[in-house]
Amino acid sequence: MADQDIALVAHLMRRAGFGASRDEIEAKAAQGYDSVVQDLLNPAGGLDDDILMRYNPSYYEPGAIEVNTQLWVYRMINSPNQLQEKVALFWHMIFCAGHSKIDSGQEMGIMVNMFREHGMGRFDDLLLRLSQNPGMMYYLDNTESHKANLNENYGRELLELFSLGVGKDGSFNYSEDDVKVCARAFTGWNVAPAYPPFPHGRSPWVFRFDPADHDETEKTFLGETGPWNGDDIIRIICEQPGTARFLARHLYNFFVADEPQVPAWRLTPPRDVEAIQILEQAYFDSNYSIKAMLEALFTSEFFKDEAVRYQKVKNPAEMVISLLRMVGEHQEIKPGLFEISQEPKYMGMDLMNPPTVEGWHTGREWIDSGTLVERINFAAEMLGNTELDGVRGLVSRLMDRGDTLSPEQFVDGCLDMTGPVQVTADTHAQLVAHAAREGDLSHGSDDERVTFTRRTGEMFQMIAATAEFQFE
């Protein structure tokens, strides 16, 4: 199999999923890129929820936030529908609501489940579900917004952060009046009273429309006048070129290459104007289908281009989950998953609890001196553990490359096994120099195999520690 096919499928799996084991990458390369894309776009089957709940009975109506994040992390590691999980994370990073205010792990779990189930559907449908999601309505105070006493929070964030964005090409997408009108249209969208946590656990919150609390007067929104309700607002939003641009840039930023932070988008043009146009076109051609936009993205030349590989700083969830998938850890249900599920938090990404409605700052802002230590040490701990099945498999693949490996062959092999990772010439030279201190590697005798294994584990740790490994 050609190396470039493997590299391309590995790139696809890093972006459209959370990476994959070497075996899986090779199997998918053999299957063919386009066919793999279709599988990713069309989730089928999935994990057996009964088995999950059998050994973790708390996964039924999961209440505690830790149980909800743990369950999500398990799905990210093990779901055969990798793109579905990746898309759930994508929406969670845009439609930000957090447990610190919502104070119900159950509602956070329900919200993420909604992203998983509907995140690749039509954008108007998704916005409607979002606007009726009780956790989100509470998080952004729509539950406090009344006909007689308006709270503009949800109206504003829906436009600014969830759909249109402030502006594009230098101009503004909406006015302050539009914000107020938007908020008025969503009055009466509320949550029914639910059971408290004591003494038997909360009941799930349920959306409830109260016509008496809804402002049904005539309103003008983005130039259209009528007695608009929330669903009318969503229809009008989805017709706007600003919405197409906003989604296109978010998809590009998440799946292709890091863009500047969102607040800069009104004034800063996209990194790849043509790519954004292709995605915008797919949005309108498909009647707002996210899946159609993803299909356009993954089959495009701009996605396959080698120039966009290793251009994105891995977010902490990607860092943790891709390592687990690479080394084959937590692929069965066993104790220890809670600790693993906290690793992204140690790296600055507390899943289900983004810092604000604006979400996490991404790209280079994932990295500071504290989180870098966490990232490097976790990666090194996983890849350096030659007891793990996945790592052992990589070692034996390396051995298959020849009876004797020169330091350079050894480094190239290790880089290939752990990615393939692309490194700068400087880094490459340092790694080769490090390997050269102990000379060539063989694996003819037991002693040599022990040394080969140890040196591979160490080289994997060195690769995990490179600046390049922070990217995907």
Binding site: D50, I51, M53, R54, Y55, N56, P57, S58, Y60, E61, A64, E66, V67, Q70, A192, P193, A194, Y195, P196, P197, F198, P199, H200, G201, S203, K334, P335, G336, L337, F338
Partner: protein, 334 residues
């Protein structure tokens, strides 16, 4: 006025009360998965809890009259500790045996919760265990263990010497797909909740297959992952129909009699909790008037046991309580 019983003339059931609340320690349960009821009325409840709350992993001892007695055991791998505790049984002296389906071991405690001994070897060979998920002690004092991931039932002496086994993987008679709970009747017949085959299988004490009850589904006599089974003195069979959120009752011949969906009112401990949390009372009262069923119904019932008085105790797993039903020959107005 005509009264129509449709053939069910000789039994009647009513809901008595509920015991417990969700709590990680003390007067409540956290993800309870099994219980055993001693001759003195002490109820030994296995709390599975979850990983980030290891303090919830322990045995609670109380009574069905909601008297708290004590707790013992803790999360861990040491003697007397559990990782995934899943089942409990009592011998004729009320010594307590707890099965751990992660550590593949059976731990023996005194009735007061003092550690005595442990046994169990991981594996799939004769006498080895892979996921012991249900245990029962027969009239000879031997222990019958549901060896779940090995899809078989094994019999041991009480201190772990292998005696015999039956069953294999599959969906035919005498075969299993991740069986879970177990119960014995007065003649040592063995009732197994054949969890992933959605049926109860009945064997005689030698492991010979007698009958199967149930198919997959949510209709009468159908199951969605049944996990617990009990047999009362009359031979009536009670099945915790886990993912259907109900308990079904069958006559000894397997004929469907009735089902319970849960009818709980607030327990004493539940009231204690609410009394110190007036804001929760306020919220609950509005919610209750919207939907009383939420709090009354079972949520993943996870085991049924019968006490000395013939009361039927159901572990209402997700709600952290036990719902108690009573069977009477004569009708009782409640």
């Amino acid at each position: 006025m005509a009264t129509h019983f449709f053939g069910l003339k000789d039994r009647t059931f009513y809901h008595s009360h509920a015991v417990g609340r969700n709590e990680f320690a003390g007067t409540g349960f956290r993800n309870p998965v099994d219980m055993a009821i001693a001759s003195d009325g002490s109820v030994y409840v296995v709390n599975r809890s979850y990983e980030n709350r290891p303090d919830g992993v322990h045995m609670t001892v109380c009574t069905l009259d909601e008297e708290y007695i004590s707790a013992f055991g803790a999360y861990g791998q040491g003697d007397g500790e559990f990782v995934w505790p899943t089942a409990v049984a009592l011998d004729s002296n009320d010594n307590v045996y707890v099965a751990d389906e992660w550590l593949n071991r059976i731990t023996k405690f005194t009735r007061d919760g003092e550690y005595v001994s442990k046994w169990g070897v991981s594996g799939s060979g004769e006498g080895e265990l892979n996921g012991p998920s249900g245990i029962a002690i027969d009239s000879q004092g031997n222990m019958v263990v549901v060896d779940s991931k090995n899809n078989r039932v094994q019999k041991f002496t009480i201190d772990g010497q292998y005696i015999s086994s039956f069953g294999s993987e599959g969906d035919g008679p005498g075969q299993f797909n991740l069986p879970w709970g177990i119960s014995l009747d007065g003649n040592d017949n063995i009732y197994i909740a054949d969890w992933r085959n959605d049926r109860i299988q009945v064997f005689n004490s030698d492991g010979e297959w007698q009958q199967s009850i149930g198919t997959s589904g949510d209709g009468v006599g159908q199951f969605n992952r049944p996990n617990g089974v009990a047999v009362d003195a009359d031979g009536d069979i009670y099945v915790a129909d886990w993912m259907n959120n109900r308990v079904q009752v069958f006559a000894p011949d397997g004929r469907f009699i009735t089902l319970f969906r849960g009818d709980a009112a607030l327990s004493k401990w539940g009231k204690d909790k609410l009394n110190s949390n007036p804001d929760m009372i306020r919220q609950r009262n509005i919610a209750y008037s919207n939907d009383p069923a939420y709090e009354q119904r079972f949520a993943h019932p996870c085991g049924v046991r019968i006490d000395d008085q013939g009361r039927i105790a159901v572990i209402d797993h997700t709600r952290g309580r036990i719902q108690v039903y009573v069977k009477e020959d004569e009708p009782v107005l409640r």
